[in-house]
């Protein structure tokens, strides 16, 4: 009950905004193709549920695949960086450079190379997840106190044991901070990929609805995309709470 009460102001504000929106559109007679009313958007969810669902599934698949691949590569690379100064010096600047290219500029290049299928979308989603996770994971793996490393030296622990017993666990709070970012950006990546060249997915539906002045469909698609990102964030946060039961030294 108290948690529900805490959320009451947010719920009330949200409902008021929707109500104002409905009133504004009706009172000022705004044409549907410019701004649809909430009721019209809701009607799309009811009448076009099949179309929305069919386009939702590819985006879900791309976002989740990109999330897994991008983060996995970032974590493995971070582990390599921490164990090899050379690797860090050779590849970190390149990773930074790739990160500075706007994703919207890379997308057409990837579509040209990888074609029109799932591949370019997954790669874009992976790319957008990759960098924050790499940076955080490198920091996390290095966030072991000097004294802890001395303890492991006194115990004559190998690098592998240090990684498996200490570094991975102490990096988890950092990793989850990055995964929470990645859980929402991976959806953005998938949608951007679908914009460039695709006949399916929420991104394609957004383009199609915009060009055909189907504003209620556009709004419904946007809401669906946002819901997917929120769901990803929620799941990641729940997993974090299950995995990290201790009090991390570095809370941020």
């Amino acid at each position: 009950m108290p948690r529900w009460r805490q959320r009451l102001p947010a719920i009330a504000t949200g409902c008021s905004i929707i109500l104002l929106w409905q009133l504004g559109v009706t009172v000022f007679g705004v044409p549907t193709y410019i701004a649809p009313s909430p009721l019209q958007v809701m009607a799309v969810f009811r009448d076009k549920a099949d179309i929305l669902w069919l386009n939702f599934l590819p985006t879900l698949f791309e976002a989740v695949s990109g999330f897994i691949i991008g983060n996995l590569v970032a974590v493995l690379l971070a582990i390599w960086f921490v164990h090899s100064r050379f690797a860090e010096r050779a590849f970190y600047p390149i990773a930074v450079f790739v990160n500075t290219i706007p994703i919207i500029a890379i997308a057409p290049i990837l579509v040209l190379i990888l074609g029109n299928g799932y591949a370019p979308k997954i790669v874009i989603a992976a790319l957008i997840c990759f960098f924050p996770t790499l940076v955080n994971m490198v920091r996390g793996l290095k966030a072991v106190s000097p004294q802890m490393l001395e303890l492991l030296r006194v115990l004559s622990a190998s690098n592998r044991e240090t990684l498996l017993k200490i570094r991975l666990q102490s990096s988890l709070p950092f990793l989850f901070a990055a995964l929470k970012i990645a859980s929402t950006t991976s959806v953005i990546g998938a949608i951007v990929g679908e914009w460039i060249g695709s006949n399916y997915g929420l991104g394609a539906l957004i383009i199609e609805a915009t060009y055909n002045f189907r504003a209620p469909m556009l709004y419904a698609t946007v809401i669906l995309g946002a819901s997917l990102a929120v769901a990803g964030f929620t799941v990641t946060s729940l997993v974090e709470r299950m995995v990290i039961r201790w009090k991390p030294d570095a809370v941020f």
Binding site: Q147, K247, P248
Partner: protein, 254 residues
């Protein structure tokens, strides 16, 4: 039998013009089973000396032997264990699993087989019943007890303690001082104990190694002539006060 033998030890840090000599020509011996405390002004190299014995600091000149082995070989053989000022526990591991850590890492050796039972060690340090507690659920003193139990799990022949109670409040510190004497009595381990506190050095030590600073050299290896068993109330006796007074004078005479 000699547990620790340090002869003509010099430790320097840095290079060329920036060389700092932390320890110069330090020699002493610790007999098996003794509890030796070490005091000296801040920055005199007490910790460096302990860390050199533990193979954590480089030896520039001279020699260290732990039961006849070089520090590196002694470390690999788990001849010694180290207790830091911070408990240095893994925050995601329970007290019991923290005590088990030394059994899970490092080169596997037959000698590990005769390790002490982690449960019994927690009981020895007065933490029976708190096996499943995570470090953040324990007080600072309790965390340090866990770290002492962890140090004892491989039955080390030498326990090197670097200001282990330095960060604790005085009441907790008194209690742990007494318990350390009990643990020492029960395990028979040789202990080298670094401290800032002259009364602590007097209360715990059979002998007290007094260092001077810049660079660190041995002023005296003083025999603390107090009869066992030692109780905290001893600290109010004339004998005790005379010894601490003597040690203080040794420290001041630079």
């Amino acid at each position: 039998m000699t547990a620790i033998s340090v002869s003509n030890l010099t430790v320097r840090f840095g290079q060329d013009e920036n060389v700092v000599t932390a320890l110069q020509d330090v020699s002493f011996e610790v007999t098996d089973g003794q509890l030796v405390t070490m005091i000296g002004p801040s920055g005199c190299g007490k910790s460096t000396l302990l860390r050199a014995i533990a193979d954590l600091a480089p030896i520039s000149e001279g020699n260290i032997e732990v039961f006849g082995r070089t520090p590196e070989r002694a470390r690999r053989a788990r001849d010694f264990a180290f207790v830091f000022q911070d408990a240095t526990l893994l925050p995601w591991r329970s007290a019991l699993d923290n005590v088990r850590l030394p059994l899970e890492v490092g080169p596997r050796q037959d000698s590990f087989e005769i390790h002490a039972e982690p449960e019994e060690l927690l009981e020895l340090v007065g933490l029976a019943g708190r096996e499943t507690a995570l470090p953040h659920e324990l007080s600072g003193g309790m965390q340090q007890r866990v770290s002492i139990a962890r140090a004892l799990v491989c039955r080390p022949r030498v326990l090197l303690m670097d200001e282990p109670f330095g960060a604790l409040d005085e009441i907790t510190r008194d209690k742990l001082n007494q318990e350390l004497l009990r643990i020492w009595d029960e395990t028979g381990t040789t202990i080298m104990f670094v401290t800032h506190s002259v009364p602590e050095a007097t209360f715990l030590g059979q002998r007290c190694l007094v260092l001077t600073d810049h660079p660190g050299t041995v002023r005296d290896l003083y025999d603390v002539d107090l009869d066992p068993p030692r109780h905290l109330s001893m600290r109010d006796t004339l004998e005790f006060v005379q010894i601490t007074g003597h040690l203080r004078r040794l420290l001041e005479r630079n």
